[in-house]
Assembly symmetry: C2
Homo-oligomer: 398 residues x 2
């Protein structure tokens, strides 16, 4: 069994079980436990509305430490008033009794339909089963148990050397709808055996999220349950990272690699997606403009359906840039599909349509806009918009 | 032949012909001529990128007067550099020679694919044919000729009495993709035989657009060619409206009725739409919040696919409100599908699913969110997101 996700670092056990929250009998509850107490940090949805399980985690992670995380799919535990908060607390308490830790040390995640309460009998059964099947090889099962409309489990890991010690970072995440930057735009858990202070861990996570999870858009919808959590248990035995020294840099760069890999999986597995699309902007006047332009293009249904149709309709791309709210000189813009220039100085070129089609047929496409008016480059990952997106989302709740 | 569009007011002639810009032989060039010079005002796309025909109109309408408008479909005349500007000027000049007016008095509109130049031989042939077939009954033909992916021509008119004189307002517009508020979000021409000053006409248009055309969203994309133009030729013989008196109010209220009717047609005929959805917010804290919330809900692909699937997934509605950027207390929100309350004080109710389905099966649906935290009410019109939206837009250019 491959072990390149959350159980890749030392001292993390995981499991994934089916407790009946999903009608189809698929796995729907994941548990991750660190052998010892871990330093923890998190980033949470910017949505004004917040799920009850997420609120539990957001509040308790402020302590800076955690032992475990329990994530269920099939029910979001959101918009349920006091009952939702109570169910979250009960879920954490029940798990803490099994694990032998304080309830506040159990982080929670819930994903699924909004407005329907958790079936707590099923949750308790699931927690019990999950605890019983914890394993140092269980990362993949956990990654499977947090899936909703995902078509494959998403895991990544990276091993580095710090102080001559082997340090591993592993992660899992789930999409694949309601995905749009502005916080952890999904549920993701990253584990590491690095020894690192809470302050540095938090800083590293925020820095990396901006360049990975916050650079993914599937449909522009920011969920009420989105969270990105990291747990560092220190079992790697390196001298604890307490400042932004070269060890910190090594750690951050590995964390970035894991996070970018997970992020690209999120985009590639966007609901109904047939293609991973990387949109790059070059020569923007400022960071804010780059951000606005990337978001507008990645969100545009017209751009996304054109990619699905393998249609070199770059007019929709410049249109989206134009209404993004960023100001730029349209008469300077060059646009490339892959390496093929299709628009120069804001005017269409009569390009080779056969070559364009060849590029658009691939399942990974890069689009580049060069604004030639500054030094800022940036990128975002998104996917196309297909019939299957409509199919999946026309009947998700039922 | 019905005559309830742009030729309903006195003194306006119109026609619609096929000149070969569309491959399928459908009508693709419309001409509208006022018997005398008309007062004119316009609202234009906020997109940084602007089509060349639109730029011509935007510049020349500043004079405050116009005799005619020529609109082609099948080609946007956008993103073509100097050539696009020259083609626009030639188009206006050629029409002006026929009509016997100055080129600056001919307004232009172009809609279709971006980045491909106008075939000026076809345009000249079209203008010649359209001029030859001008008729006081030609409004419907013109409304047909400006259609792109629209499934029906869009016209409306209203007759009122001012000073004992019968005054008519008529309009046409076309959608049905790249539709989102922030200016005239399509091409629309409104004609009237009212006598009104330029200043009052401009003020009336801006006031009305905010409550009609700027309250429609199909896909969140603001096109580079969007414009709303009004021409008032004064042939109704009323004492000219020069101030915000009761005659002005009568005029504005009729203009609003025509504009709302056209706007609802735009939403109902959104690409692939099966339903017209009116989203209402009540009790918002301020205008800006109301606007943000309405836009977010109307743009959300998750909300729109749920309506297509007749799925009472109100969780997506509150989610969209939550990420809109507006701040509100989620624990105060009530949500209604039609008259059916599905969420009270931010928590889901166990409502009658059969009743919900009955409401969602209709082709006109009203959704209401009550925030109970202020005095501001507002609304927006949108449509669902169906397989056909993907089909239409996956292959529009080809």
């Amino acid at each position: 069994m491959n072990n390149n996700g959350i159980t890749a670092p030392r001292g993390f056990l995981a499991s994934g079980v089916s407790c009946g929250l999903k009608n189809n009998g698929k796995k729907d509850l994941a548990m991750v436990v660190s052998e010892n107490i871990a330093v923890a940090a998190g980033i949470f949805t910017t949505n004004v509305v917040k799920g009850h399980s997420l609120k539990w985690t957001k509040r308790n992670i402020e302590n800076g430490y955690a032992r475990a995380m329990v994530i269920n799919s099939g029910c979001a535990n959101a918009c349920l008033g006091e009952r939702g908060d109570k169910d979250a607390a009960d879920m954490a308490q029940y798990a803490s009794l099994m694990i032998g830790c304080r309830p506040e040390e159990v982080l929670l995640g819930s994903t699924g339909v909004i407005g329907f309460p958790l079936d707590m009998d099923k949750i308790r059964k699931g927690i019990k089963d999950a605890y019983a099947s914890l394993s140092s090889q269980g990362g993949t099962l956990a990654a499977e148990a947090i899936m909703t409309t995902d078509t494959f489990p998403k895991q990544a890991s990276k091993t580095i050397t710090i102080d001559g010690k082997t340090i591993t970072i592993g992660g899992m995440c789930k999409g694949s709808g309601m995905i749009h930057p502005n916080m952890a735009t999904m549920i993701s858990l990253i584990t590491t055996d690095a020894a690192i202070s809470r302050e540095m861990l938090d800083k590293a996570l925020r820095h990396v999220a901006e360049k990975s999870f916050n650079r993914v858009s599937v449909d522009g919808d920011t969920s009420v349950c989105d969270q990105l959590v990291i747990m560092a248990n220190g079992l790697g035995g390196n001298t604890p990272i307490n400042s932004e020294d070269s060890n910190y840099d090594t750690f951050v760069s590995a964390l970035l690699e894991v996070s970018v890999n997970l992020s690209k999986m999120l985009a590639r597995d966007g609901e109904g997606a047939t293609k991973l699309i990387e949109i790059r902007v070059k020569g923007c006047h400022d960071t804010e403009s780059a951000h606005l332009i990337l978001n507008a293009i990645a969100k545009s249904p017209l751009v996304k359906t054109a990619f699905f149709g393998q249609d070199a309709n770059w007019g929709r791309i410049i249109t989206a840039a134009g209404y993004s709210g960023a100001s730029f000189d349209p008469d300077l813009v060059d646009i490339y599909l892959g390496e093929l220039m299709v628009c120069h100085n804001g005017a269409g070129l009569s390009f080779d349509e056969a070559k364009a089609l060849e590029i658009l047929k691939k399942d990974e496409i890069t689009v580049t806009l060069d604004f030639k008016s500054g030094q800022v480059d940036d990128k975002i990952w998104t996917c196309d918009l297909s019939y299957d997106y409509v199919k999946i989302n026309g009947s998700y709740r039922s």
